[in-house]
Symmetry: C2
Subunit: 590 residues, 2 copies
Amino acid sequence: MLGAQKAKVLYDFDGEVENGELVIRENQILTIIRQDVGDGWWEAETATKQRGLIPEAYVQIVDSWNVPEDAPPPPPPPLGDSSMSQSEAVDLPAPPSFDSQSAVSSSGMHHQDNEDDWDDEDDWDDNQSTPDYPEGDPNAYFDEQESPQDPAVNGSGNYGLAPPNRQYKQRNSDASTKATGTVKKNFASRFSIFAKSGGEAYLLGIAAKKGMSPNVEVRIVEGNDGPMWEDPGRAVTIEIKNPKKETKMKGIKSFIAYQITPSDSGIQVSRRYKHFDWLYERLAEKFTFVCIPPLPDKQVTGRYEEAFIEKRMEQLQKWMNRMGAHPVTGQADVFRHFLSCTDDKKWKQGKRKAEKDEHVGAAFLQVIQAPEKPLDIGVVEKHHDNFSKFQKSMDQNIAISVQTSHEFSKKHNGPFKREFQKVGQSFTLLAQSFDLDTRPRSSDDDRPPQVSSKLTEAMKHTGQTYDHIGQLFADQPKYDGYILEDFLREYAGLMSTFPDMINFHKHTISTVKECQKQREEQKMDYEEADTVKKRADVVSYAMMAEINHFHTERVTDFKEVMQQYLGEQIKFYQAITSKLQETLQKYEEI
Amino acid sequence: MLGAQKAKVLYDFDGEVENGELVIRENQILTIIRQDVGDGWWEAETATKQRGLIPEAYVQIVDSWNVPEDAPPPPPPPLGDSSMSQSEAVDLPAPPSFDSQSAVSSSGMHHQDNEDDWDDEDDWDDNQSTPDYPEGDPNAYFDEQESPQDPAVNGSGNYGLAPPNRQYKQRNSDASTKATGTVKKNFASRFSIFAKSGGEAYLLGIAAKKGMSPNVEVRIVEGNDGPMWEDPGRAVTIEIKNPKKETKMKGIKSFIAYQITPSDSGIQVSRRYKHFDWLYERLAEKFTFVCIPPLPDKQVTGRYEEAFIEKRMEQLQKWMNRMGAHPVTGQADVFRHFLSCTDDKKWKQGKRKAEKDEHVGAAFLQVIQAPEKPLDIGVVEKHHDNFSKFQKSMDQNIAISVQTSHEFSKKHNGPFKREFQKVGQSFTLLAQSFDLDTRPRSSDDDRPPQVSSKLTEAMKHTGQTYDHIGQLFADQPKYDGYILEDFLREYAGLMSTFPDMINFHKHTISTVKECQKQREEQKMDYEEADTVKKRADVVSYAMMAEINHFHTERVTDFKEVMQQYLGEQIKFYQAITSKLQETLQKYEEI
C-alpha cells in the first residue's frame, strides 16, 4: 500500500463499471489506493471520489501535481517475462500482459531450460478447480457447456480472451494475503491487445529494427471478394488416432498420447494434450490477425474414459485441420514443426526457436506483405463496422443456437422418446386385451378366431413400432443434433477470437485518423503520416483477409454441416415412415 | 325412520364396501336403520354391527325372528312407474329401478299424453349441474373428457349404467331433507339388472303370458365363430347433415334440428337431440343383450357453437350407423320408426307403441328364437369368464389409451410444436447474422458475396422449414390423434354396456346350477329343470351372439381406424421428409 500516491492516466481505459473497474481518460490524475491487487490491476480513486480498478500500465506515478509534458518510460509489466520483446518497446508504455502466456510461464512451460516441466504436470492439473461432473454421466460434458457461464457459449473462449478475472479481484479486494501468482489462470483484457502486442509501436514505426527488413512470411493478395491470404498451396490434412494411455514416474503419472499423421509426410508423430496447448499458445501469440480458436475444453473427471478421449481426439483433429487449412497457420514453422518433428533433440531446438520468435503479436505485421494500393479509410471503417456488427450478432445467435440444439437433443432423449413409447405402450395394452378374446367351442378349445388374432398381432406390432420410434428419437442426436451442437460450439470459439482483432483494428483506424488530423494541423509532416497510413493499411489488409477467410470457411462449414444434419434428419423421418408402413401392412393383411 | 325393524335378505348383494355399501347374503337378517336414504337405498346393520347401504328391494321386512319359509311378495319398487310390466312379476320381488328411464319419467318424457314435454325442456336442461367450461376454449370438450372422473373414460357410460350415485348417498346420509325424486339423474346399479329386468321371472317361466307364444322378433343362428344374430340383410346406413337452429315460443327457446337420411328410403327426417335420447332409452330398455352405447355427451356451454354442433352431428351419425348395422337394433320397429316417420300423427302413434312394448328387458328373451341345441354349462361358464376378463381388461386399457392419445395430441399442439419452432427460430437467427456479412468494396457498395448470400437463403429456408414442421405437428391430431381418441371414447362407451349383460348372465348361470342341484336333490323335477335350462340357453345364446357381434365389429372397427391412423401418420412423416428434402436442395445449390 502506497497510500495517497498520485498517478497520471496515460491511455483512455473504458473500464467495466459493473465489475468494479473505472472509466479513465488520458491526463486524468488519480489517487492510487492499492498496488497489490495483483495481475496488473491497481485500485484507484478519481477526483470525484469514485473508486475502482485500473490496469496499472495505463497510468504513471507522478511526484507532484506538476505532470510532465512527456510521459516517462512506464514501469515494466508486473509479470516480467511476457513473450514480447520488451527491449524494442522501451519508448512506449506497455499495458500488463493479461494473456495466458504469463500463466503458462508461471507453471514453467516457458522456462526453456527446464524441459522436464513438459511432463511434470499432467494436462488437467491446471483445472483442479473445475467442478466435478457426476461420474459416468454421459451428459455431464454437455450439461456443463450449456450453463450460461460457459465461456464457449458466451463467445469469449478460454484462452486468454476472457474479461478480467472478477473472482480474483473480489477475493483480493480486501487486501487478502493472496498475491500475484497464486491464481494460475491469467487473463487478457479486451482493451489490452492493441497496446500489449505493440500495435501503436508498430504503426508509429518504433518497433521495427533499424536498417533491416525482416523476411516476408505471409502475403496478402487481391481476390474476388477483396484481400485474401495468399495460399501457398501446401494445405495439409491431419488424422489423429490411436490415443494411448502412457505412464511415467513408475506409473504414478499417466497421460494420453495421440498419434498424429499429416497428409503430406504421412509420418506419424505422438503428442499429448499439453503439446497441443503449447502449439495453441504459440499460434495465438504470433498471429494477432488470424482466428486461433480455443482448444477443446479440458476435463477433470473421467479423463481416461474412452468416450471422452475419443471425443477430445475428434475435436483436436478438427482444430488441427482448421489450423492446417489456414494459409497462414498451416504454413507456420511452429505448426509444421509440431506436425513433423519425430526427433527429440530437434523437437527441443524447434521449440526454443518458436518461443524466441520476434515476429509475434503486432511485430507479425512486419512480416506481412500486403498490396501496395492504399485503402480508402471510409471503406475500411465501414468494413470494420459491418464486421463488428456481424461478429456481435453471430456471437449471440450462435450461443442461442447451441442452447437450442442442446435442448432439442435433450428433448429427443427425454420427452419425445417417452411420449412415443407411451403411445406404443397403450397399443401394446390394447393388444393384450385383444389377446383375451378367447371364445371356447368346448371346454378344451379356448382360442380366438383367426381374424381376431390377426388384429391382435397387428396391434402388437403397432405397439412395438411406436416403442421403436421412441428409441429412434432417443438415438437420433448421435447422428445430427450432437454433431450440429459441437460444430456450433466450435464456431462460438471462433467468434470469441474476433473481439481482440476488432479492438486492434479499431485503434489502428483511430491512430490513422489522429495522424491525418495532426497532418492537417501541420503537426505531422506528410511523409510521416503516409508511413503510418501504409502500416495501418497492412493491419486493415490483414483484417480483411482474415474476414474473407473466415467467411469462406463459414460458408463451406455451414453448408457441410447443414447438409449432414438435414441428410440425417431425412433418414430419420424416412425410418419412421418405413416403420409405420410396415405396420400398416399388418392391418392390410387382416 | 323405522328404528330397529328387522329385514331378511332375499338375494345376495355384493355391495361396494368402499362406497358404504354392505355385502349381504340370502337369508341373512339385518337391522334396518333408515328407509329414507332415497333412490331405492336403505341403511342397514348386520348382526356383527357393520353398517351400510343396501338396495331395499333385496330385503324383506320381517315381524319377528321367525323368518317365513317362503318370502312374501316384496314392496313395490320405490319409483313406481318402471317401464317393466310389474303386473307380470307380482310373485317375485323386483329390486328398484335404478335405471335412467325413471329419471326420464320424472322429467315427463314417459308421460305419453303430455306430448308437449318434448319441447318444454331443452335438451341440455338436465345437465345444469355440469361444470361450465371456459367459454370459447376449444379444448374444453376434451379436457373434461380426460378427467379421471369422466364416466366415458372409466368405461361406465352415462346412460343409467353408472355405479350407485355416491354423491347423492353422501348428501343424504344425515337424513337430509332431500328425498327420492329430487335428484333428476337416476341410476342403475350393476347388481340390479337381472332382477330389475325380470331375469329370474323369465328363467322360472313366471313372466311368460299363459297360453300365448309371442311372435319371434329376433333369431340366433350358428355361425363360424359360434352363435350369431341372424342378419335379415336389411342393413341401413344413415347420413346426418344440415343441423338447423330452430326456435319456438317466439324465439325464447331454441334447439338444433338434425336432418337424417337413411340409405333405404332416402327420405329425410328431422330430429332433435332429445329424440335421439328417447330412441336411446327405448333401445337400452328393450335390448338387454345388445350393446347400446351411450349417446355423445350433452354439453352446456357453447351449445350452438358451430364446431360443437358439427362434432355432435358426426358422433350422432356414428351412433346411428352402429345401431343401424346391428342385426337386432337395425331391424327394431322403434329404430325404423325413428328413421322413417315424417308424419306427426304417425310419429306419436309409433312413439306410444314403442313405449308400451311388452317385450323389453328380460321379456325380450321371449321373442328370441335360439338354436335348439342345449349348451354345455361348463363351456358357457368358461365363455362367460373369458369375456368377463376381456371386458375388464378392455375397459381399463381403453381408458389408458384414451388418456395417452389425448396427451399425445396435446403434446403435438404444445411442446412438439414449440420445440420444432424453437429450432426453426435458431436457424432463422443464424440466417439473420449471416445477412450481416456485407463486405464493402467502396463506401457505396455494401453487399455480401454471392456464395454467402446463397448460404443465408438456405439457412432462412431451414428456419422456415422447422417452423413449418412445428405447425405440421400442431395440425396433425386433426387428421389422426383426435379421430383415434374419439373412436376409443366410443369404445369406452361400448365397453360400459357389458357389465349389466355379464351380471345378468352370471345370475342366469347361477340359477341353472341351483336348479340342477335341486333336481339332483330331487327337489325339482327333471322337466322343470330342463325348461329353466332351455330358457337359460336362450340367455347364453344371446350373450354369445352379442359377444360375437361385438368382436366382429371390433376387428372391423379397429382395423379401419388403425389403417386411417397409420395412413395419416405416414403422410405426416412423409410431409416432414419432403420439407427437409426441399431444404437440403437449397444447400446443394450453394
